[in-house]
Chain length 205, copies 2
């Protein structure tokens, strides 16, 4: 009942983990540092996450994955059309990357690569997040009049370009990859809209 002015300990642990995991990876982040960053007692981690690091990581993946998906999707809500949404998405990503000294990119990409071949439950969690992003994007693009296959291809192209651009931009400490990737996706989007009339498969053999 008493509304404490401080945030929930559990939430603090989750937030600290999310930030640390995406900056230095899952295996590279110790729980001691998590507790310290969250200003939480060490034992509280195992109080709220009895499943240990695995459970903590899975909740981080799913919660921050959903959060980031909503963030990107809100850009599409705020933009009049698809093309400007693509531009704004990549420009916004570039800005926030610079603002955080090239640290805060995708919250789950680092974890996804780490666990893809080593931890099946966590791999599934990252796969679920990516799948939900794709589904949300396909639904969001319904008003474009494109076929579902075309929308799916487009949104996957956008996500993959964004993810890959994060890799290069963080490594090179430059927004150039993000800008170039944005232009690439824009080209694909323009082509898709231009070919709207075509019904059949896209492939030009």
């Amino acid at each position: 009942m008493v509304s404490t002015n401080t945030v929930d300990t559990r939430t603090r642990i989750l937030a600290a983990s999310s930030e640390l995991f995406r900056r230095q990876g899952l295996a590279g982040t110790g729980l001691k540092l998590v507790a310290q960053t969250a200003k939480a007692p060490f034992g509280s981690i195992y109080h709220f996450f009895p499943g240990g690091k695995g459970q903590l990581a899975e909740e981080v993946i799913r919660s921050s994955g959903a959060l980031y998906g909503n963030l990107v999707m809100s850009i599409f809500d705020a933009c009049p059309d698809l093309l400007t949404a693509v531009d704004v998405a990549f420009e916004g990503a570039a800005e926030s990357l610079v603002a955080t000294d090239f640290a805060d990119a995708c919250p789950i990409a680092t974890i996804a690569l780490e666990v893809a071949s080593t931890d099946e439950p966590l791999r599934i969690a990252t796969a679920d997040v990516f799948a939900s992003w794709i589904d949300a994007g396909v639904a969001r693009l319904a008003d474009t009049g494109l076929s579902e296959a075309a929308r799916r291809e487009l949104i996957i192209g956008l996500i993959t370009s964004l993810e890959g651009a994060f890799v290069l931009s963080r490594a090179m400490r430059s927004t150039e990859p993000l800008i170039a990737a944005g232009r690439t996706v824009r080209c694909a989007a323009e082509a898709a809209i231009g070919n709207k009339a075509d019904q059949g498969p896209v492939g030009v053999e």
Copy 2:
């Protein structure tokens, strides 16, 4: 003089590290496992790499980065034109990913994300590799008649799409992201070639 039928120990350590690092990350791979995988005595790691894990990782990044760059670049040599090269590159990546049970993708992407904000020497190493890929690609596309800026944008778009598609494909255990990313890059390449005559900026306002 005597040509041993076995490979150099140093090379074995490097190869084992490269494979392990890209599958389970840098922080997630212990040197004990490296020695064991390389069938090398543990002490030999520090004999050949006195700088420890850092030196080993840097050599892995630079050597396997150069190797992978040459691999992708050889596709462009074997293809008659840019468009088919793009197709072959993404299809080949999809095939080799399936062949290795979605394990062997880009040899340095996982490391790049891990070290981007935590280890400056290694971050620089990954940045150097990406920069060399871009430079090589720009040079390779010289015969397209595109401006250097256009070539650069195109090749960065290709690399970022490929990297991002690896992330999603490995996580989802599906080649769909790689296929979709390939189509996206193909669209951008077609648009670039189509606009070859235009001299000014690409933007169609």
